[in-house]
C-alpha cells in the first residue's frame, strides 16, 4: 500500500495545499493591492512549477530540454501578451 503513495508526490500535494492556504491570506487579511498581487503571483507560479516538475514529470524524458523550453517560451509569450495588452488598452491612457 505504501509504495502506491510516493513521498515526493504526497509532499507535493501537501505543499500545493499550503500554497493555496497562503494565497487565501489575501482574502482574509487586509493588505494593499500591490502586496496581495505579489503574494498571488508568487503562490500561483510556484504551484505551476510544482505541478510541472513533480506531477507532470517534465524532466524525466530524453526530450526534457525541448519540453521545458517549449513551456517557458509559451509562458514568456503569454505574459508578454497579457502585459502588452494591458499596456496598449489600459495603462497607455492613464
Amino acid at each position: 500500500m505504501k509504495e502506491l503513495f510516493p513521498l515526493k508526490q504526497v509532499m507535493g500535494f501537501v505543499f500545493s495545499l499550503v500554497l493555496t492556504a497562503v494565497a487565501l491570506l489575501v482574502y482574509f487579511v487586509d493588505m494593499s493591492f500591490a502586496l496581495g498581487m505579489t503574494i498571488l503571483l508568487v503562490t500561483a507560479f510556484v504551484q505551476a512549477m510544482l505541478q510541472l516538475m513533480v506531477f507532470m514529470h517534465a524532466r524525466e524524458s530524453e526530450d526534457s530540454g525541448l519540453i521545458l523550453s517549449n513551456v517557458y517560451y509559451g509562458v514568456f509569450i503569454a505574459v508578454v501578451t497579457v502585459f502588452g495588452s494591458l499596456l496598449a488598452l489600459i495603462w497607455g491612457y492613464m
Binding site: Y73, S85, A88, L89, G92
Partner: protein, 648 residues
C-alpha cells in the same frame, strides 16, 4: 431577419449570378467526369483518405493555386474599379466585399496553404523521414483547411461575403453595422482553417525535432527545415490567440455577448489588439518559410554553401521572439500615448536587424559563387531588391509619429504588398519551380518561366510603387472611389497597368504548367538542378516510403557531400519499413466541421447538434481504434527501387 432571407445575397449583381451558374456547371462537370471515368474509387483511395505527406502537400498546392486565382481576380476587379476617378464598375458594398475576401483569401487560404504545401512535401524528405510524426493529423489539418476555404468561398453565392475588411474591426463587424451573415462566414471559416493550421504547427515541430535522419543535429539541418521549425513554433503560439479572438467575435454576433460591443462595457479596441497579437506573428509565419526557400535556392544556384549559417539560424530565432512583441504598431493611432508608442516603435524597428543580417548573408552567398540564372534563382534575385524596398518602408512605418501619416493609406498598402509579394509569392513560385521536378517528375519550361518572371516582377513594381506616392498624397486605403480633383487618377491607372501585368504573368505560369505537362522530358533523373540537400537523394517520383534506407547525415548539405566530397549516405542494407494506414476519418470529420460551420453561420441549431454529435463520434472512434499501420517487406522495397532506377 426571416430565416430564408439570410440565404439570399444582400447585393446581387450579374457577376454573382454568372459565377453561381459557373460554379454549378463546374461541380456538375466534376461529378459527371468522375462517374464517367469511374474515378470515384481512385479519388477516395488515393487522395481523400491518404495520409502521405507528399500527396497532402500536393493537395495543399492545388488548393493554394486555386485560391491564388480567386484572390487575384478580386485584386484585378479592385484595381480596375480604382483605375479611373468616379468609376462605376463596382458599387461600394461590392467593392468592400471584394477587398475583404481578397485579403482573407490571399493570407489565410493562399499564402498559408502554399507554405504548408511546400513544408509538407519537402520537410520530411529534407530530414530523411518516412512521413510526418502524426500522418493522420496531417490529413485532418489539410481537410480542415480545405473545408474552411470552401466554406468561406461559399459566402460568395449563399448569404453574401463579409465586407468589413480582412481585419474585421468591431464594431463595424458587429451585428449593428454588419447584419448579413458575411462576417459569420469570416469568423467560422477562418476558425476551422485555423484549427487545421494549429495542428500542422504541432505536427511539424515534433516531426522536425524527433524524426531527423541519424547524424543530423539541429545545427546540421537544411535552412528550409530550420525555417519550417521556427515557423511552426510561431504558428503554435500565435494561432490560439486567433482562435480565442474569433470565438469571442462569433459569440458577440450569435449569442449576444459583450466583448466588442459599444455598450455595457464592450471594448472594440480589444478585437484590434487580439487580432494583431496573432496578426503580426502571422506575417513572419508567411515570410520565414520563404526565407528558407531562398536560402536553399540561392546556395544551389550559386553552387556555394550558405554564407553565415549560424547567424541565419540565430536571426530566425530572434525574429520568432520579436514577432510577438511588436503588434501594437498596427494601431499606433488608437490613442495609447507617446510612451506605449515609443516602446513598440523601438521593438518594431529592432526586427530590421535580424532581417538585414539575412539579406546580407544571401548577398555574400553569391560571393565567389558560380551563378546560374534559372527561374527559381531569378525569383530569388528579384526578391532581394524589391523586398529590401518593402522592408525599409516597414522601418519607416515603425516610426510611430510618422505612422500617423502613413496609417490606413495606400503607402501602407504598398509596403505590405512589396513585402508579401516578393517575400511570399515569389518564394512560393520559386519553390514551386524548384521542387516541381521532385513532385511531378518533369521540369517546368525555363523559357516560358522567365517570361512569367519578368511580367510578375515588373508588374509588382508598377502596381505598387505608385501607391507610395498616392498614399503620401492622402489616398486612404479601402476607398471604393475618389474624385478627379484629388489627382490620384494617374497613379491608380499605373497600378492597374501593373496589376494587369501581374495577371498576365500568372496566366503564363498556368500555360507553362500545361505546356510542360505535355511536352517536357520525363527523363531528368532525380537531381536535375545539381542540388545540395537530402530531398534530391531519393528517386523521382518519390516512393511512398521516401527513402528505401534512412540516410546517414554529416552536414547541412549531406547530399552535396555525397556527390562531391565522398560522404556515404546509404549503406545498402534494406530493412522492412513501417507505414501508416490510410484513413477516411479526417475527411469525414472535416466534412462534419463544414456542416457545423455552415449551421453556425446561419444559426441552424439542429445542424449544429447533428454535426457536433458526428464529430464526437469520430473522436470516440479514434480513441478506441487500434491501428498499427502496415509493413513493407524488403523484397517489395527492392522491387520498387529497381523499377525506379530502371525507369531512368
Amino acid at each position: 431577419m426571416e430565416f430564408f432571407e439570410r440565404f439570399a445575397i444582400p447585393h446581387p449583381s450579374p457577376i454573382i449570378y454568372a459565377s453561381m451558374v459557373a460554379i454549378g456547371i463546374t461541380l456538375l462537370a466534376i461529378v459527371a467526369g468522375l462517374t464517367f471515368f469511374k474515378k470515384w474509387g481512385y479519388l477516395w483511395r488515393e487522395w481523400l483518405t491518404t495520409v502521405d505527406h507528399k500527396r497532402i502537400g500536393i493537395m495543399y498546392l492545388i488548393s493554394a493555386l486555386l485560391m491564388l486565382f480567386r484572390g487575384g481576380v478580386d485584386a484585378l476587379m479592385m484595381r480596375a474599379q480604382l483605375a479611373t476617378p468616379d468609376a462605376q464598375l463596382l458599387d461600394s458594398q461590392h467593392y468592400n466585399e471584394i477587398f475583404t475576401t481578397h485579403g482573407v483569401v490571399m493570407i489565410i487560404f493562399m499564402a498559408m496553404a502554399f507554405i504548408i504545401a511546400l513544408m509538407n512535401f519537402v520537410v520530411p524528405l529534407q530530414i530523411g523521414a518516412r512521413d510526418v510524426a502524426f500522418p493522420r493529423l496531417n490529413a485532418l489539418s489539410f481537410w480542415l483547411y480545405f473545408m474552411g476555404a470552401m466554406l468561406f468561398n461559399l459566402s460568395f453565392v449563399i448569404g453574401g461575403s463579409p465586407s468589413s475588411g480582412w481585419t474585421s474591426y468591431f464594431p463595424l463587424a458587429g451585428n449593428e453595422f454588419s447584419p448579413s451573415v458575411g462576417t459569420n462566414y469570416y469568423m467560422i471559416a477562418i476558425q476551422i482553417a485555423g484549427i487545421g493550421t494549429l495542428i500542422t504547427g504541432i505536427n511539424f515541430i515534433v516531426t522536425i525535432l524527433k524524426m531527423r535522419a541519424p547524424g543530423m543535429k539541429l545545427m546540421k539541418m537544411p535552412m528550409f527545415t530550420w525555417s519550417a521549425l521556427i515557423t511552426n513554433l510561431i504558428i503554435t503560439f500565435a494561432f490560439p490567440v486567433l482562435t480565442v479572438a474569433l470565438a469571442m467575435g462569433t459569440m458577440d454576433r450569435l449569442f449576444g455577448t459583450q466583448f466588442f460591443t459599444t455598450g455595457n462595457g464592450g471594448m472594440d479596441m480589444l478585437w484590434a489588439n487580439l487580432f494583431w497579437v496573432w496578426g503580426h506573428p502571422e506575417v513572419y509565419i508567411l515570410v520565414l518559410p520563404a526565407f528558407g526557400v531562398y536560402s536553399e535556392i540561392i546556395s544551389t544556384f550559386a553552387r556555394r554553401n550558405l554564407y553565415g549559417y549560424k547567424s541565419m539560424v540565430a536571426s530566425m530565432v530572434i525574429i520568432s521572439v520579436l514577432s510577438f512583441v511588436v503588434w501594437v504598431h498596427h494601431f499606433f493611432t488608437m490613442g495609447q500615448g507617446a510612451m506605449v508608442n515609443s516602446i513598440f516603435s523601438i521593438t518594431t524597428m529592432a526586427i530590421a536587424v535580424p532581417t538585414g543580417i539575412k539579406i546580407f548573408n544571401w548577398l555574400f552567398t553569391l560571393y565567389k559563387g558560380s551563378i546560374r540564372f534559372t527561374v527559381p534563382m531569378m525569383y530569388s534575385l528579384g526578391f532581394l531588391p524589391i523586398f529590401t524596398i518593402g522592408g525599409v518602408t516597414g522601418v519607416m512605418l515603425g516610426m510611430s509619429a510618422a505612422d500617423y501619416q502613413y496609417h490606413n493609406t495606400m503607402f501602407l498598402v504598398a509596403h505590405f504588398h512589396l513585402v508579401i509579394i516578393p517575400g511570399v509569392v515569389f518564394a512560393m513560385l520559386a519553390g514551386l519551380t524548384y521542387w516541381w521536378p521532385k513532385m511531378f517528375g518533369f521540369m517546368l519550361n525555363e523559357r516560358i518561366g522567365k517570361w512569367a518572371f519578368w511580367f510578375i516582377s515588373i508588374g509588382t513594381c508598377v502596381a505598387f510603387f505608385p501607391m507610395f506616392i498616392s498614399g503620401l498624397d492622402g489616398q486612404a486605403r479601402r476607398m471604393y472611389t475618389y474624385s478627379e480633383s484629388t489627382g490620384f487618377g494617374f497613379w491608380n491607372m499605373l497600378s492597374f497597368a501593373g496589376a494587369v501585368m501581374l495577371a498576365i504573368g500568372f496566366i503564363i505560369i498556368v500555360y507553362n504548367i500545361y505546356y510542360s505537362t505535355r511536352y517536357a522530358s520525363r527523363d531528368i533523373g532525380s537531381d536535375p538542378w545539381d542540388a545540395r540537400s537530402l530531398e534530391w537523394a531519393t528517386s523521382t517520383p518519390v516512393p511512398e516510403y521516401n527513402f528505401a534506407e534512412v540516410p546517414q547525415v554529416n552536414s547541412s548539405e549531406a547530399f552535396w557531400d555525397s556527390k562531391y566530397n565522398g560522404h556515404k549516405l546509404f549503406s545498402g542494407k534494406l530493412k522492412e519499413i513501417h507505414m501508416p494506414n490510410n484513413s477516411g476519418v479526417p475527411f469525414i470529420m472535416s466534412s462534419l466541421f463544414f456542416v457545423l460551420g455552415f449551421s453556425f453561420i446561419f444559426s441552424i441549431w439542429i445542424g449544429v447538434a447533428i454535426a457536433l454529435l458526428g464529430i464526437v463520434a469520430c473522436l470516440v472512434h479514434r480513441s478506441f481504434e487500434q491501428d498499427h499501420g502496415y509493413h513493407i517487406p524488403v523484397e517489395e522495397i527492392e522491387k520498387t527501387e529497381s523499377e525506379l532506377r530502371g525507369g531512368k
